[in-house]
Symmetry: C2
Subunit: 321 residues, 2 copies
Amino acid sequence: MAVYTEVPDEELEAFLANYEIGTLLSYKGIAEGVENSNYMLHTDKGVYFLTLYEKRVAAGDLPFFLGLMDHLAENGINCPTPIRNLKGEMLGELAGRPAAIISFLEGVHVRRPQPRHCVEVGGALAQMHLAGEGFGLARPNALNVDGWGPLFDSCRAGIDGYMPGLAPELDRELGILMRDWPRDLPSGIIHADLFPDNVFFIGDRLSGLIDFYFACNDAYAYDLAICLNAWCFEIDGSFNITKARGLLQAYTQVRPLNAEELAALPLLARGSAMRFLLTRLYDWINHPPGAFVRPKNPKEYLIRLRFHRSVTSPAGYGLDA
Amino acid sequence: MAVYTEVPDEELEAFLANYEIGTLLSYKGIAEGVENSNYMLHTDKGVYFLTLYEKRVAAGDLPFFLGLMDHLAENGINCPTPIRNLKGEMLGELAGRPAAIISFLEGVHVRRPQPRHCVEVGGALAQMHLAGEGFGLARPNALNVDGWGPLFDSCRAGIDGYMPGLAPELDRELGILMRDWPRDLPSGIIHADLFPDNVFFIGDRLSGLIDFYFACNDAYAYDLAICLNAWCFEIDGSFNITKARGLLQAYTQVRPLNAEELAALPLLARGSAMRFLLTRLYDWINHPPGAFVRPKNPKEYLIRLRFHRSVTSPAGYGLDA
């Protein structure tokens, strides 16, 4: 939630001269996005985002991310779209960083999702999965099941200090996930981070999806399992099966799940809870003392992981057997 | 440069329902302004700022600040204007804080002012001084010459650690300022903080003035002296007399200075340099170690103060005798 890079006037002017987006009227640094510096531009032609990619985003991945947004928008998904410069390129350089001008998407993310929002998200996720087909680039999921072991190992020294007894529980869980993880499910482009802050609404209607900087190739049903974790738990840790049923039913109306995907859902949900538990654990253990950004407590994902362990069939998520 | 207050959806909706500004399409936290939390709102009627006033702004001063913006806008100054709610009020409450909806002003502040910008600023400052006449409220300048002594005293313990020898120099200077300060100059509403980041341009034309949260009643020529410090020194500390002449001439074309004001300019400029030197010194000495916002170095104002001490007449600022 910060602007990291201050852009000198002359450099901004020179950069914008490469685009046909009109005369600059104003620009404001936006206090969101921890990975990048974002500015909102007003020109006499409209509203745009200027994004400067900071070090946490690998420059080599940018053609994938920007190309994906472009591809999805062309295929009917409402999402921010990179604007091409006069040379036809989506990526430039500004203040020593890779930079892009991206269309501005109206909408507000919901802070407290209701079941009606989950229905909208389920449908939009399935549409995104279908729209991603035919995209020419691929990006492996660096945070997939094979990455969790090494990530856990890098947390090991601090884990007892965070919560005694957690290490053996996660060791057991990782063993099961590695052993049983389904590797032949229908796959393609997934969002991989479709949390409420990445879904825009205007009123009750979903107006678009944002933040594709974790997008990668993986099982579609795993993306759906991420949404179960992201959208269907209450603040007190309880699972809201009405939200889950709405999310899953709306998804399957657009893209039906096959038998293997359905059967795998509880394990995929455990894996997805593990993935966010581990990255939060890593940030919790490794954040510098006194850092401005307080890391999120990993515990809520431990609670979710334990819940999914208790689910034995898709009926546990509100789907008919 | 931060959003301090996170606003819950329902509270924002209820707050906006008091205004006739249309349907909310999006809102973004803005990474500027250290005193307040600022959000940029898009509605189907236009663009607005939502400002939540944090503790550094005294709630009792808000009717003065908001009323002043309203008054200045009515009198032809391009500045952000508070929008009245359905009850006709400019000030409401949101997330436990005083809050206002304010019109959005297009423009970009210049990072490296040129002489042509100083000319624009001089004229706009004089117009603001004239437009402020007739405003019904008053606010004393808490940071005027009588406030500098106590402010200096509160820095005294840390000043040797900052720069040995500085304390006696400032003591002498404060004595002279207290003794010779002109107290009967033409006075009225002054901006008191018209630095380059508070002046907007579109292209080379000044498009508006912002941030009236230091505005108060004081000598007009003191406001002009603040601008000499804020606009006419180069990064290397040198004084650009071309900029000063442009600023002063443009000012006097709109609002002529009388003989007392002209004669007082060097002392007013010393005082204004002292005022910013002291607040920066205070922040420098008192900022918490490891704080996110690094305070600005006071030294550049010491250099300016010493320069003004060498000026014996308005000719030193490029004005004809």
